[in-house]
């Protein structure tokens, strides 16, 4: 994966090359097509939800790492993003679970 430039003053390295960007975009397009395709394959029904979540997470990570340059930028910026993301995910999962908790555990 080639990059432009050397390390910046804030621990940043140069961003990805145009070729890398295009490669990432092609992968994103393919994964999107796969997401669309797998929902019509009946044999995949038992693992469909985790499969979709993994593919979605992969796309999310590709955009964040390459297009948003987190792979190349200072770790502080990753922390500013990943910290709130983890808290958002934890709160979201708690909220969804508790919305159904009345059914699972009873009042």
């Amino acid at each position: 994966m080639s990059v432009h430039g050397a390390h910046g003053p804030g621990g940043e390295r140069g961003h990805a090359s145009v070729r890398t960007y295009i490669t990432v975009a092609v992968i994103l397009a393919i994964v999107t097509a796969l997401e669309f395709g797998v929902i019509y394959i009946r044999q995949l029904t038992p693992i469909l939800v985790p499969l979709l979540l993994v593919m979605s997470a992969a796309k999310f990570a590709l955009v964040a790492l390459f297009f948003m340059h987190l792979r190349y930028d200072a770790r502080t910026l990753s922390t500013l993003f990943v910290g709130p993301l983890v808290i958002a995910a934890a709160l979201g999962i708690s909220l969804i679970t508790m919305a159904g908790a009345f059914l699972v555990f009873g009042r």
Partner: protein, 815 residues
């Protein structure tokens, strides 16, 4: 989009001669309206916060007058409801928070050795938006419709059915405005603290007050989005007939309680941690010792902030969440007492064996330790669900929260006021009056609120406007009222002391208390540029080390001062005053208030806000001083700011998506998702948005190369792909409406349109941003030196893209 802190001409002197003409007075007023100086903005927060504090205090006195005797008719039940609602809302959002903001604004840049905050104009914008929100909330009195559903605004008491007038609209809309102010300030202060520290000031060398400020800004950043979403749902329910809090349509009233308390509990720490930071500065100075275990105090503050996100449901034990949730939140709540207790013991250890100087500031700091301990212990009692069930909705809870917020927050803020008053005004407060102030407040506060523990324990419910004689509540209610008026007397004593100091107080030297931190290194009050030379920091308590180099074996030699951005005093550039922050806030305020009047007012305000936003963004576009905004992290302020903002957006969209997921399958009527969602079409729009991200990075690469033709091509392409996505969404929405799915049709319609609609609004905002950059490029005003502006826009664009990746999967694909 943003502004550098050191650019522009120094502001003209703004102090009017007491006998000066009208023009001089107008100039003085104008200089305050357009100021971007963090110190003046701090004073504005302090003064306006004090005005709202008096208003909230007057409301409290009316409440206590009504309850002083059984069967009173000072106010009727409806007025009483409005009084306790406005008292709580005012004290939380318009008094204690702005008091803390006053200290953040005035002191943080001084304490970290900076000349201002990272974004001075955004700082001014935060203040004016805050003021607009506060005025809007209190305009409800003028409209004869003050909010009356409690500061917690529980659904469905807030629904149009049970609150038909505009009172709740005032409340919901003004809280949204106030939230916007807090979020902007949070981003600004996070960037300031991370990126504007003086040379040598590592994170662990920062004063504890600065650390607590940082923790509080992250709490605001992450806790306000969930309440923003909750308020959006409420506003949509009231204005557009959606069903978020409509049980008959499948909605769940607990959703509001969750969203409110996910915000509400961290809010407690937003209110108390600044006071903890103040006390951690005051105690070492007046004990003549370093803060005992300072790193542990810092880590405890961080832990309190972190745990604060995991305990919200202890406010909902009485809602019936089930044993597992009760147990989990009970344990979490008990855990949070540990770092809090650590702080208290560290403060006591700081005092132990110290050379105590019993100043008024120290009195208030010690008062906080004692009073907050009482409030904290009653808080631990609430952590036990069976005990909590007995205390819920009783006066015991009222006593607890006032021991935390007056005994804790307000005592800490008074300690800070007495400690930093000489620095801010250049004059000393009278210490004898100060001690009277403390003791009157201390005795009156305990008289007002300690009996309420007992009243709660013997069964007096909160929020009742009267009671019958014979329940055994009469005497202690009367005592509580006497105490409340005593608190008012204490506040009057403070005001008298402050006015006396301003008129004839003794002049304060730069360092009247033998302080330990950098703000005491400069004059009182500080010059507009704060420091003639930016100090170099060699350790914690850096100014103390500088003054007493021989006191520590390993103390470094007296540090050399660093030149201020390459020059000394004469070469310092200060941020220029700007009219656009107040104009933008005015537009925003008019637009929001317009929702209560007429849609034309909304449009007018929005147009004003949009125009002001453009002028704001372009004000310094061509100024070379604003090109390089790298700070102590070596990263551009704007880049740190956009990532910080994106962190907040994670919580915003996370809450929207979680609410959608929580409501999946709960619609009681169709159409249902499986009947109506067009997955092939949405796959195409998803592909379109993903490819727009590719064009965006190509635009950034082109602008970095200085390739104007490619920059135009890819910027236009990105905006075009964004417009195509919006076109897909417009088609989808139109089709759904034609099929019978509207906002009002069912719960699915409500959640789907609000979630995807807000995402679409973000895309639309991104398109406007990109088109603005394109116009600049077409006018030849976008070159390689502006690459950061394109990168920041790009980061926002990509974030909107990854949010859609999640929405596409969870809303459309997951069966």
């Amino acid at each position: 989009m943003s502004d550098a802190p050191y650019a522009g001409a120094p502001p003209a002197p703004a102090i009017a001669h007491p006998h000066g003409g009208l023009a001089a007075r107008a100039a003085a007023v104008g200089s305050w309206l357009t100021t971007v100086d963090h110190k003046r903005i701090g004073i504005l927060y302090g003064v306006s916060g004090f005005a709202f504090f008096l208003l909230g205090g007057a409301e409290a006195l009316l409440i206590r007058l009504q309850l002083a005797r059984p069967g009173s008719a000072v106010v009727d039940a409806g007025t009483f409801n409005a009084l306790f609602t406005m008292h709580g809302t005012t004290m939380v959002f318009l008094a204690v928070m702005p008091f803390s903001a006053a200290f953040f604004n005035y002191l943080v840049p001084l304490m970290i050795g900076a000349r201002d905050v990272a974004f001075p104009r955004l700082n001014a914008l935060s203040f004016w938006i805050f003021l607009a929100g506060g005025l809007l909330l209190n305009a409800s009195f003028l409209a004869g419709a003050p909010p009356d559903a409690g500061w917690f605004g529980y659904a469905n008491l807030t629904s149009r059915r049970f609150s038909p007038g505009p009172s709740i609209d005032f409340w919901a809309l003004s809280l949204q405005v106030l939230g916007a102010s807090s979020l902007i300030a949070a981003v600004n202060f996070i960037v300031t603290i991370l990126n504007l520290r003086a040379p040598g000031m590592t994170l662990m060398r920062m004063p504890v007050f600065v650390w607590m400020t940082l923790v509080v800004q992250f709490l605001i950043l992450l806790a306000f989005p969930p309440i923003t979403v909750g308020l959006i749902f409420l506003t949509f329910d009231r204005f557009f007939g959606t069903h978020f809090y409509d049980v008959a349509a499948g909605g769940d009233l607990h959703l509001w309680q969750h969203l409110f308390w996910i915000f509400g509990h961290p809010e407690v720490y937003i209110l108390i941690l600044p006071a903890f930071g103040i006390v951690s500065e005051v105690l070492p100075v007046f004990a003549g010792k370093p803060l005992f275990g300072a790193p542990v105090v810092i880590y405890s503050g961080i832990l309190i902030g972190f745990f604060g996100f995991g305990v919200w449901s202890h406010h909902m034990f009485a809602a019936g969440m089930g044993p597992v949730a009760d147990a989990a939140f009970s344990i979490g709540t008990m855990l949070i007492a540990i770092p809090t207790g650590v702080k208290i013991f560290n403060w006591l250890a700081t005092l132990w064996g110290g050379a105590i100087r019993a100043t008024t500031a120290l009195h208030f700091a010690a008062g906080l330790i004692a009073m907050f301990t009482i409030g904290g212990l009653s808080g631990v009692m609430h952590a036990s669900p069976p005990v909590d069930l007995q205390q819920t909705d009783s006066y015991f809870v009222v006593a607890h929260l006032h021991y935390v917020l007056i005994g804790g927050s307000l005592f800490g803020l008074f300690a800070g006021a007495y400690y930093w008053w000489p620095k801010i005004t250049g004059r000393l407060l009278d210490e004898r009056r100060g001690r009277w102030n403390f003791w009157v407040l201390f005795v009156a506060f305990n008289l007002a609120f300690f009996p309420q523990h007992y009243l709660g324990a013997i069964g007096m419910p909160r929020r009742i406007y009267t009671y019958r004689a014979g329940a055994g509540w009469e005497f202690w209610n009367l005592m509580s009222t006497v105490g409340a008026f005593g608190i008012a007397a204490g506040v009057v004593l403070f005001a008298a002391n402050a006015v006396g100091s301003l008129r004839r107080g003794a002049r304060a030297p730069a360092d009247p208390w033998d302080g330990r931190t950098l703000e005491w290194r400069t004059s009182s009050p500080p010059p507009p540029h704060n420091f003639d030379e930016v100090p170099v920091v060699h350790g914690r308590d850096s100014f103390w080390r500088e003054k007493y180099p021989g006191r520590r074996a390993a103390a470094p030699p007296r540090p050399a001062a660093a030149p201020a951005h390459g020059g000394g005093h004469e070469q310092v550039h200060l941020p220029a005053p700007s009219v656009w922050p107040i104009a933008l806030a005015l537009g925003l305020g008019v637009a929001v208030a317009g929702a209560l009047v007429h849609v034309a007012v909304v449009v007018l305000g929005a147009l004003l806000a949009l125009a002001a936003a453009f002028r704001f963004a372009l004000e310094h576009h061509d100024d070379p001083a604003h090109v390089d905004q790298r700070g102590s992290l070596g990263i551009d302020h704007r880049k740190v700011a956009i990532w910080t903002f994106i962190g907040s957006e994670c919580l915003f969209f996370g809450t929207l998506i979680a609410s959608y997921m929580a409501y999946r399958g709960r619609s009681v009527v169709g159409p249902y998702p499986a009947e109506i969602l067009n997955i092939p079409l949405t796959t195409l729009s998803t592909f379109d948005l993903l490819m727009s991200s590719l064009l965006m990075v190509l635009a950034l690469a082109a602008v970095q190369r200085g390739d104007h033709a490619q920059t135009r091509l890819w910027l236009a392409g990105t905006a075009l792909f964004g417009l195509v996505f919006l076109g897909f969404q417009a088609y989808e929405f139109t089709h759904f409406v034609a099929e019978g799915l509207t906002l009002q049709q069912n719960l699915f319609g409500s959640t789907f349109f609000v979630l995807t609609g807000f995402h679409g609004a973000h895309v639309a905002l991104g398109v406007i941003w990109l088109l603005s950059l394109l116009v600049l490029e077409l006018r030849g005003r976008l070159g390689p030196r502006d690459a950061m502006k394109v990168e920041v826009a790009g980061l926002y664009w990509h974030f909107v893209d990854i949010v859609w990746i999640v929405i596409f999967t969870l809303v459309y694909l997951v069966p």
